[in-house]
Symmetry: C2
Subunit: 320 residues, 2 copies
Amino acid sequence: MPDADETAITSGISHALDQLVTLCTQPGDVVLVESPTYHLAVRILRDRPLKLIAIPGGPGGPDPAALSELIASLKRQGERPSLLYSVPTFNNPTGLCWSDDVRRAVVALAEHERILIVEDDAYRELSYDGEAPPSLWHIAPSGVVARLGSFSKSLAPGMRVGWITAGRDLIARIRTCGVMDSGGGPNQLAAMTVAAYCEDGAFEPQVARFREAYRARRDALMSALAAHLPAGWQARMPAGGFFVWVRLPAGMSSEALLPVAEAAGMSFVPGRRFFCDSRNGDDALRLAFTLYSPAQLETAAVRLAQAMRRCVSDAEERSG
Amino acid sequence: MPDADETAITSGISHALDQLVTLCTQPGDVVLVESPTYHLAVRILRDRPLKLIAIPGGPGGPDPAALSELIASLKRQGERPSLLYSVPTFNNPTGLCWSDDVRRAVVALAEHERILIVEDDAYRELSYDGEAPPSLWHIAPSGVVARLGSFSKSLAPGMRVGWITAGRDLIARIRTCGVMDSGGGPNQLAAMTVAAYCEDGAFEPQVARFREAYRARRDALMSALAAHLPAGWQARMPAGGFFVWVRLPAGMSSEALLPVAEAAGMSFVPGRRFFCDSRNGDDALRLAFTLYSPAQLETAAVRLAQAMRRCVSDAEERSG
């Protein structure tokens, strides 16, 4: 459990990330980002004069050896990364968690290189198969990790209430920075409403209801994909969160598939949106399952399967 | 009236200013600020790598000729101001309004020099002696002024709801920037609550009640100052807003006066806090009157007068 002076209230994770970038980066700094990663976080980073560099790795998280080499190579060029943005638990877009070994290795590297890890932990509460893995903040020495938590996924996005757990020095800077001091920080009405809701003991049962409903939706989607999609796709079962990351059959483009799928009545986010380098990711797509009933998810899988078959037959026609 | 595409909802003025600075300045840019000006806005600007330069002028607003000379001199040094922050109506801290001539001259200069004027218009609704003067936004061509409005003073600061009125291009950038796109913008619950309150017709009568109460408080404070303060002070009656700016008798320091006044049971913000260059402003202080009853304001004036007399007699003792 963090102490009170290791925590500050925020208006949600996007707001907290925006504020951290203002306070913890200098123009021209290198910011390391997972790959694939949450595309709208990248847009927040891109609104600043920062150099974004993707961390080598895969859907299971960054490769610590490759990360170490990347940092060494940046240092040889006179660059020093100041921040590392990541979603280690129930990742957006892959739904997957970093392994314990990867967590410990990345934390040790960040500590050694004095890089602040920004741990976007939006999905932690939505764990469907037992406990979520310990957060990077939990395993790291003080000052290495700023963990961003939120009620947006576990309660209601429109409340815009979250929190940041970090070292005491950083929390003190956040609490006393200009925009906070001037009253431009979290919404007091919303924060006090959420606090009263939690104090009433209403939060835990509500999250338990979400977990139960979303687990059933995840299971329905995974079964429907297995039942309907044409051969050659791959997806790993996410143990929590909102998303399933589908790798398409060899040669199929998710950007090309999107309009066909939308014409069939379903949609997804193409994989390229989640990569800093848009040459990557066209072989994958992100499905979001929490807003739909099991029956709707089954229909969506059928429509996706139709669209995939149409893409294959169009490609065969063109090449034939 | 601005069109819908000239307006965006914000989480209040501090949030809007923070966002504008992110989107409309480059590191190292010169930002011009009124002098004196709202001290916490200056803190928001100081959290960035910007060069803040005070605009020559006085409590009645900037001096357009001196501003023009300042810009010319900056240009000779290879610097170009990108932003001008101001509170032209019921200024914080002086309570005063720029004259019509100053408004038109500063707008013309900003248009010619392509400087974005950020007009902090937090107090416009709290006008006690007739209509507030037209906003800079109202008299300027599109694109020259970004006007920041708020419900914080006219309804409730804890709602954190405001708006920005600006050129279409800037509004489009604000609406589509990373942090907004990711949901980290205004609080939807609070914004919809305020919208329903306004649609119900409840806002105008509530502001009218504030105006009536605050006018009585302003009048009580000004009368009490006139009745009790020792000779040599000066203050101009503010026609709206929250503040009275008191110039102290010659030789009296508001920083030295503050602990004496607080020991006597009243407080104020010393003038130096409102100047970029802290060598200025020690001859003045800011009184805020809206939170206190006329009787409390009378007591405060009596205590301030005691503290001023004590400072004078202490100074006489030291020099005698």
